[in-house]
């Protein structure tokens, strides 16, 4: 089978050659004269802010748009050079939405779209299909139950399955895979699994285009990094030649200020105290929150980190324990009361829980606190509302600065600004944030950090639950690291480093070892051995 391979690693000819690709939308040059090559076995990352042309590139490759000029050439299995639609056929895409059917098993999902014609009525050969599926999955070094419903798989397993499905139709491995933001909402352990799978595909001779917002991942995975800005290619460099800061500079075109270092906060009575809080994946959580303080909550997914903010707010019903706000207990599972008592909650899933995408930005912004806009006969003072919203839109630097459009038309970063603004407008005592920069590009991330810091400075107590250790390190006065539903470690400001956070949250998997050897975080290596 190897003699069928047209391109060996080291073959001077690229498997994908994009030259002079240009795409203009009315008024905007979305992509201008882009040239790019992908060689067999190579992982090329394409990065850039929203609007940089990254997504236009994906859509041109996927055939959603057609280019104004320029060519896309692909080498097929037999070494022929393909141009145009035939070439695009050889690209395989993994999007954020994987197109898997949650209720069906892996086997069934892999089989979808394979049977056609009269064969569709012939009985399914269960055992054979199952073995095939297992082999396919094993190619990525994975072992999971291929007969279980896809919805029960972890996020990484689902992505690996999607990749497996994309690859299953190939005769050879040397083909092109385009991964479009595959790690959104994926916890770090799962990201590692996915990356291992991607590396295997590349090692077998496939070319991979990897599109991502997350610079760390790009630096980790890619062999080469292509940076787009304003539709133009600004850099095409070996990964070894750049670091994180350099990438940020290339992406934004300017030196990005780090998140503002947290200022010292006033000591005082705690505004919020949790006592023996339980619910969701949290088993036992107690802590005090002081005014002006930013407390980070770290931990792997499943550690309880992902439910802390929701539990405190009451989005999730408590199974036990109590939350005390300014000396008085807060009812469980009652967001309305929580808001009245001065709590604000920015959930991780903006689309599902954070905002109402079909309503205007203005309507989203004022929803939690309409009372001050109420006039006689229950009338809503639209003039006052507009002025209020315009002020907030300016304050959070909303782009475009027009709140009179449905929220879904804004970019992720700007949607998040609206969500933050709607809560800051309630002048909260306690601001609870879950993954505040998820799906937010680098530029908007800085604004989000600045808003959080400003809220704390004006006296709000802030909780930031995040899967990104860097975020907690940069932003917080102290951090709680969750493990198995409990607080495994509390890190003060001077102990707050990415390494400490990661090792504290990983250490937690080594419960047995820890109980034997005592409590310390030196278990990262042991973890990888165990896996």
């Amino acid at each position: 089978m190897d003699d069928r391979r047209a391109t060996q690693p080291g073959d001077p000819r690229p498997m994908l050659r994009i030259s002079g690709l240009t795409k203009t939308f009315p008024g905007i040059r979305a992509l201008s004269n882009l040239s790019l090559e992908v060689h067999p076995g190579e992982i090329v990352a394409v990065i850039g802010q929203n609007g940089s042309g990254k997504s236009t590139l994906v859509k041109l490759l996927a055939g959603v748009h057609s280019a104004d000029s320029g060519t896309v050439e692909v080498l097929d299995e037999s070494g022929d050079l393909l141009v145009g639609p035939d070439a695009l056929e050889h690209l395989h895409f993994i999007h954020q939405d994987l197109g898997l059917i949650p209720g069906l098993s892996s086997v069934e999902n892999l089989g979808l779209g394979r049977r056609a014609g009269l064969g569709a009525f012939s009985p399914v050969r269960k055992r054979r299909e199952r073995r095939e599926a297992e082999t396919l999955v094993a190619r990525f070094g994975e072992v999971f139950d291929v007969t279980a419903a896809v919805s029960t798989l972890t996020a990484a397993e689902q992505r690996i399955l999607a990749i497996a499905r994309a690859l299953s139709g190939w005769l050879t491995h040397d083909n092109l895979l385009v991964l479009d933001e595959p790690t959104v909402a994926l916890p770090s352990g799962e990201v590692r699994r996915l990356f291992d799978a991607v590396r295997r595909v590349a090692a077998e001779g496939a070319g991979v285009i990897f599109i991502s917002h997350r610079l760390d991942e790009v630096l980790d995975l890619a062999d080469r990094i292509v940076v787009l800005r304003g539709g133009q290619l600004v850099a095409d460099i070996e990964t070894t030649a750049v670091d994180h800061d350099e990438l940020v500079r290339l992406i934004t075109g300017r030196q990005l200020a780090d998140a503002p270092a947290p200022r010292a906060h006033s000591r005082g009575e705690p505004v919020l105290s949790a006592r023996g809080l339980a619910g969701g994946s949290v088993i036992d959580l107690s802590f005090d929150l002081l005014p002006g303080e930013i407390v980070g909550v770290g931990g792997l997914i499943g550690s309880g980190r992902e439910h802390v903010a929701a539990l405190l707010f009451g989005a999730l019903k408590r199974a036990g324990g109590e939350v005390v706000v300014r000396g008085e207990p807060l009812r469980s599972g009652d967001p309305r009361t929580a808001i009245r008592r001065g709590l604000a909650f920015v959930p991780a899933e903006r689309r599902e829980h954070g905002a109402i995408m079909d309503l205007y930005a203005r309507e989203n912004l004022t929803l939690p606190r309409l009372a001050p806009l109420r006039r006689r006969f229950g009338r809503l003072d639209r003039g006052a509302e507009r002025r209020d919203v315009a002020e907030w839109a300016r304050r959070v630097d909303l782009q475009p600065l027009d709140a009179e459009r449905p929220l879904k038309l804004f970019s992720g970063g700007n949607q998040q600004k609206v969500v933050l603004a709607k809560w800051l407008r309630t002048d909260p005592l306690v601001l609870l944030l879950d993954e505040p920069t998820q799906g937010v590009d680098v530029g908007a991330q800085a604004s989000v950090y600045a808003l959080i810091a400003a809220a704390a400075e004006s006296g709000a107590a802030v909780v930031v639950a995040s899967s990104e250790a860097k975020e907690i390190e940069a932003l917080c006065h102290r951090a709680l690291v969750m493990r198995d539903g409990r607080v495994a470690a509390t890190l003060a400001r001077h102990e707050l480093t990415e390494e400490n956070l990661v090792s504290a949250s990983l250490g937690l998997r080594q419960q047995d070892l820890d109980s034997l050897f005592g409590q310390h975080g030196d278990s990262g290596a042991a973890v990888s051995q165990k896996r």
Binding site: F25, P26, G27, I28, A30, N50, G51, S52, K54, S55, T56, V58, K59, A62, V64, H95, Q96, D97, G99, D180, F313, A315, P335, R336, I339, R340, F345, P347, E352, H353, G354, A355, I356, M357, D358, L359, E363, T366, L367, P368, R369, L370, A371, L373, R374, G378, R379, L380, R382, Q399, P400, D402, R405, P406, K408, L409, F410, S411, G412, K422
Partner: protein, 370 residues
Amino acid sequence: MPDEQIALPRRSQVDVSTVLQAAAADAGPANGVPGRRGRLAQAAAWASPRRLSVVYFFAAMFVIFSVWVPATFLTSSTWHSLLADQAITGLVAVAFSIPIAAGAFDLAIGSEVGFGGILVAWLIVPRGLPVIPAIALTLVAGGCVGLVSGLLVVRARIDAFIATLAMSSILLALVSWISGGSQILNLPNSLQAIATNTLLGIAYPVWILLAITLVAWYVLEWTPVGRSIYATGGNPEAARLAGVRTSLVIVLSLIACGMIASVAGILNTGQLGVGDPTAGPSLLLPAIAGVFLGSTQFRGGRVNVWGTVFAIYALATGTTGLQLAGAPTWISELFDGVALLIAVGISKYQRRPTRRLAVIRQAVSPRRAR
């Protein structure tokens, strides 16, 4: 709305950023000081067929039938009876649009109308109640039906679609039980008067429709309550987390719906002059068609009562004209069915690629401005 929850794989592939830029560029001239071109473009956008297709449709119907059958179409009696006849359908549609705005279908609405109509007749004739208390009781009963549906939805957590479909069947049984399956005759003139008397040459039901639509419009568009209703319809979980009492909103919207349906039922019985156990269910489809067609108007895909009322009358103008031109009576069912399909089709088209539309709009508008 349920169809929002079905994730279309294609959809997430469409990226926002490019379109955002297009949209931003689009907003550019209209945003600042509107120059003459800007104002023209604004006017064009305001009057665009996408926003006002029903108005254009109405105008087209009017012109066609004025030319085709002027002798009958252009008489005041035609228009009086069109206005009065459709007032009840209009009321039903307005009632239906309130829970829809909050994200809940009330498929029982047709039966609620029938129930209200038969209950008022039953209270007056066999029970011997005076007209006013009978009407008041009927309104309360309509509210109670809405309350039951609402509790089924928010407490028992039965999907609104299923809960109200079941309620519809139960109400039909109640109607048969109350009426014994036959018409209730000998209604007092005062009840009929409510449905047939005129003020300024226009029948009472039209005024009632106007009044209820005004109130519904005010509440939906101009009050925090309305904002809560739309928020609940847009995303119940996000609305709940923003402090909206979504359960209360859904229950209240179904109660309002039930009460307005009762009003329609009373007026229907008044117009017919008898309590008819078969009246009501046939109003469901025109009401849904009106609401969905109306939602494509004025507010860019959002359910709104004026759009609904306009849609009802535009459809009725079409069917009336065709009937005057000699079409058989089933033409109205055909019309409603087709209208519903077109309306939902349009709203899908409007909603799905809002992003792509922004680009298309951008591509089209410079040409239009020239």
